[in-house]
C-alpha cells in the first residue's frame, strides 16, 4: 500500500555546478528549514492537532453521551441541540463522531508507526545480512503480497471478534508492513555498499551495531514519511474493516461503524453519513498533507529549481 519510491539519500539542493558551495546547516536542520516554510505542513499539523484535542475534549461541549437515546428527536437533522443531527434511535451523531474519532485516531496513530517499525526492522536486517536469510525473508514478503492485505485481515477477523479492539491495532500493523520493508531492504542494500558502512565492517563493528548506528539513521527520513502515511493507511484499513463488519464490533463505536450505520439512510438523511465522513476525510487529508510536505522536504529533487 505505502509505496514510496526509493529516495536518493544524498540529494541536497545541488544545481548544475554552482550548488556545490559548502553546505552549512546539517541535514536535519535543512529538512526542518524547508518544512518550516511549507504552508501545507502547518495546515496539516494544525488540523491534526485540533482533531486530536477535539477527540479528547469534544464531549464537554454537548450534554449528550453517545449512548443516550433522544427518542423524541430521532431522525432529525442538525440543530442547536444535536449539532450533527440524530440517527434512527435518536443517538446524537456529534457525540458518536467524537467517540468514533477517538478510536480511529488511536488505532491509526499506533498501528501506522508500528508497521513502520516492523518494516524497518525486517527490511534493514534482510538487506544488510543478505544471502539465505534475505532470500527467505523476501520470499515470505512476496508471499504475503500475493493476497492483498485487506483480504487477509478480513479472513482472520473472526479470530478478533472476542478480543479487545486493541488487538485490531496489532493485526493491522502485522499486515501492512510488507511494501515498506521491501523499500527499506532495497535502500539498505545500496547503503551496504557505501564506503562508510564498508569501513565500519572492516573495522570489525558488529552487524547490529552497524544497523543501529549507520543503516537505520540513514533511512530515518523515509521511515518518518512512511510512519506518517502509515497513519492514513491504518485508519483507512480500520474504517473499511469496521464498515463491512469485520473490525470494531458494536456496541463499540469507530468512524467505520458509524459510516456503516449511516449508509442505508445516506441518500435520504445525508447528515448521518456526511458528518462522520467529513471528519474522516478531513483527518486523512491533513495527515497526507504532512506526509507530502515531509517528502518534499526530504527529497528536494522535486524542488522548484528545475528547468
Amino acid at each position: 500500500m505505502a509505496v514510496i519510491e526509493p529516495l536518493d539519500l544524498d540529494t541536497t539542493a545541488s544545481l548544475v555546478d554552482p550548488g556545490k558551495a559548502p553546505k552549512r546547516s546539517s541535514r536535519g536542520r535543512l529538512i526542518w528549514i524547508r518544512l518550516r516554510s511549507t504552508p501545507r505542513f502547518w495546515i496539516g499539523v494544525t488540523v491534526v492537532a485540533l482533531m486530536i484535542i477535539w477527540a479528547i475534549i469534544g464531549l464537554w461541549f454537548t450534554h449528550w453521551s453517545p449512548t443516550d437515546q433522544d427518542l423524541i428527536n430521532s431522525r432529525t437533522g442538525p440543530s442547536g441541540s444535536h449539532w450533527f443531527g440524530t440517527d434512527d434511535i435518536g443517538q446524537d451523531i456529534y457525540a458518536e463522531t467524537v467517540v468514533g474519532l477517538r478510536k480511529s485516531l488511536a488505532i491509526g496513530l499506533i498501528a501506522g508507526p508500528l508497521s513502520t517499525l516492523l518494516s524497518a526492522f525486517v527490511g534493514s536486517f534482510a538487506g544488510y545480512v543478505g544471502g539465505k536469510a534475505d532470500s527467505v525473508i523476501s520470499w515470505f514478503i512476496n508471499l504475503l503480497l500475493v493476497v492483498p492485505a485487506f483480504f487477509l485481515l478480513v479472513l482472520i477477523s473472526p479470530l478478533l471478534k472476542d478480543k479487545a479492539w486493541v488487538a485490531l491495532i496489532f493485526f493491522i500493523a502485522a499486515f501492512t508492513w510488507m511494501v515498506m520493508a521491501q523499500v527499506i531492504r532495497a535502500q539498505t542494500k545500496s547503503l551496504r555498499d557505501r564506503d562508510f558502512v564498508k569501513a565500519a565492517r572492516f573495522m570489525g563493528v558488529g552487524t547490529f551495531t552497524i544497523l543501529r548506528r549507520h543503516i537505520v539513521p540513514n533511512v530515518a527520513s523515509l521511515l518518518i514519511i512512511d510512519a506518517t502515511l502509515g497513519v492514513v493507511y491504518a485508519i483507512i484499513a480500520e474504517t473499511s474493516l469496521s464498515y463491512f463488519g469485520f473490525g470494531i464490533q458494536p456496541p463499540q463505536v469507530s468512524l467505520g461503524t458509524l459510516l456503516a450505520d449511516g449508509t442505508s439512510a445516506a441518500t435520504t438523511r445525508p447528515w448521518v453519513f456526511l458528518f462522520p465522513a467529513g471528519v474522516l476525510i478531513l483527518l486523512l487529508f491533513a495527515v497526507s498533507l504532512i506526509g507530502d510536505a515531509l517528502r518534499d522536504a526530504v527529497d528536494p529533487t522535486s524542488g522548484a529549481t528545475r528547468g
Binding site: A13, V16, G19, M203, V205, T305
Partner: protein, 687 residues
Amino acid sequence: MVNAPLLEVRNLSVDFPQNNSTVHAVRDISYVINRGEFLGIVGESGSGKSVSSMAVMGLLPSSAQVSGDILFRGESLLDMDDRKLSRLRGNEIAMIFQDPLSALTPVYTVGNQIAEGLLLHDKALSKQAAATRAVELLRIVGIPAPERRVKAFPHEFSGGMRQRVMIAIAIANNPNLIIADEPTTALDVTIQAQILEVLQKAKEITGAAVVLITHDLGVVAGNADRIAVMYAGKLVETGSVDDVFNRPHMPYTLGLLRSVPNLITAGKTRLVPLEGRPPSLDALPPGCPFEQRCPIAIDACRETEPPLLSIGSSHEAACLRAPEIAAGQLQAADVFPRPEPIPAADQAKVEGRTVLEVTDVKRYFTLTRGAVFKREIGKVKAVDGISFDIHEGEVLGLVGESGCGKSTTILEILELTSPQDGSIKIDGVDVSTLTKDQRLAKRKDIQVVFQDPMAALDPRLTIEDIVAEPLTVHNVSKADQRRRVGELLDTVGLEASMGSRYPHEFSGGQRQRIGIARALATEPKLLILDEPVSALDVSIQAGVINLLEDLKERLGLSYLFVAHDLAVVRQIADKVAVMYLGRIVESGRVADVFARPHHPYTQALMSAVPIPDPDAERSRKRILLDGDLPSPTDEISGCRFHSRCPLFKVLDPSLQQRCLTEDPQLRVIDTSSAACHHAELNTLQVT
C-alpha cells in the same frame, strides 16, 4: 555581421536564488571565441565553468537569473525564446556532456537518437537518408561495425563508445561551435586519449570552434589554443596555452600548476600544496576571492576585486600583483615554496619486515540471472592469480583502469578471510588460520581509506564519533577515545576542536584527512588507500599526498596505494604493479618501471596520461589503444591483452601465434618484471 566573432560573451552573470541567499555562480565574465578556435576553460568544481556554457546553450534551469549579453555571430542569444534557440542548438551550436551514461535516452536506439538531430534541422531529409547518415557518423567517430551498432541501445555500449555517440550527435549538422563539458572525466585514461583524438578529428571535419571545459590541466595543454582559467565564478586568467602554462600571472594558476603531480617531475620533488578552498558563492567577501588562499595577498586585495589586467598580447590576469610577477620581482618558487621533507630525526625506524604477502590470489564471480531459479550465465575472473608483497615503510602502487580487478583485490585483503584460492599473510600470519577473536584483533593492524571522502564518512555522526569508531571495537574507554581523537586530528592537520562538527561542514580535502585520521586510530601497520585523492579537486590533492608521505615517514607505515593516476603513483610509491584484467602485467621499482616500461600496456597507459605542459605534450608520441576492455565474461586464450596490444599488431605472424595460444607469466626483464612474450622486441617509444 561578417566580421563579428563567432561567439562573444559580454559581462555574463548567472545567479541562482536559494531559500534565503543567492548563489552567484558566474560573475561578470567576458570572452570571445573566434571561428575554428580551440578554447580550454579550466576550473575546479564550483568555479562556474559549466554554468557559463550552459548559459550559452540556453539550457540553464528556469530558476537561473542571467544578465549580460551572449552574441552568436552578432545575434543576441539571451533575447531568443526557446523555439528560436532550438533552431540554433544542434545545428549551429552543439554540446557534449560529461556523463555519457545518462546523457543518452535509454529507450531509443543510438541510430534513432543521431537521426533525430538530423531530422529536426532538415525537414526535407527522409528517414532513410537520416539513418544512412547516422551509420556514416558512427563510422567517423570510430565505432566498429556501425551498420550493426546503429540499431543498438545505449546500455549496450561502453562509456567510451557512448561518448563517441555523443560526439556523432554533436557533429551531425556540421555545427560552428562545439561545447564539450568535461567530456572525458568519467572515462579511463586510455579511453580519454581516444576520445580527445576523436574530438580533434571532429573539429577538423566540421571546422567548428571548440570549447573544452575541464578541471584537468593536462587535457587542455595538448589540445587547446587558448586557455581561460575560472575561479569562484570569475575569469582570473586568459591567454594562449604557452603564456598561461609557462608564464602564469595569477597566483591561483601558479599554485595549481605547481600542485598538480606530473609524470615528468613526479617522484623527484615534493608537491606544493595549495591550501584552503574557494569561498562559498552565496556569501562572497569583498576583494579578491582567492585572497584567503593566496600567499602574496596584500591589504588592497581584501578591498576590491581585481579586474582582468592585460599583461602581454592577449594575455590577461586578474591580480593586483600581476605586474610584479610579470616583471620577475615575484618568482613562482617564492610564491609557493616547496615544503621541506620530514627531517631524518623524526623519521620512524623501519626494519623491513614483510607486512603483507599476497600469493596467487584468485577471485572469480559467477554471474547469475533470475530470482528463484538462478542460472549461471558466465564467470568473471575479477582477480586471476596475483602475487605481491609490501615491506615495512614501503608503498606499493597498484595501478590499473576500471575493471582490472584492483578494487576486488583490496576487498579480498580487507575481508581477512581465506581467499577463494591462494593465500594472504599479514605480518607473517596466514589470515585463513585466524579465529574470530584473532581476526578482530588483527583488524587493528590493517585499515582502509576510501576514494570518496563524502561517502566514507557517515553524514549523521560527528567527526569525533567517526574517528573514534575503530576504537569502539577494541574496548577503549570513552576518555581514552576522546584523547586519542584529539591527537589524531592534530596529526592530520585539523584542529581538535572540530570534533563536534559533522562531515558536511568540511571541504573534500579536510574530509579525506578525517578519513585518514580514522584509519590511523588503531595504530595500524598497513594502510590500504583506495584512490585516496582521485575524488578531490586538483588543488587539494597535493596537500593530501604530502600528508600521506609525511605520515609514512613519521610513523613507519606501509601503504597499498590503489590508483588509476600514474603521476600520483609515481609521486608516492616505491614499487608499482600494473594490473590488466585480473592479472599483474608489470611490476618493479617505480623508478625502473616508469623509466623503462616493458609491457605494451604499461607503455600505452603512460603515454595516455596527459601532461600539464604544452611543450611536452606537443613533442609526445602517443600509443593509442584500440577499442575497449574485453567483456569480463569473455574467455580469452593466450595473452589477455592481445586484442588491444599495439606490439602484437606489428609482430610477425609467426610470433603472434604465441600471444594467441600461450598465457604469458611475469618474468624478470632488466630490473623489473613483465608478463609479455616479446618484451625484448618491444621498440615502441614512450615519452
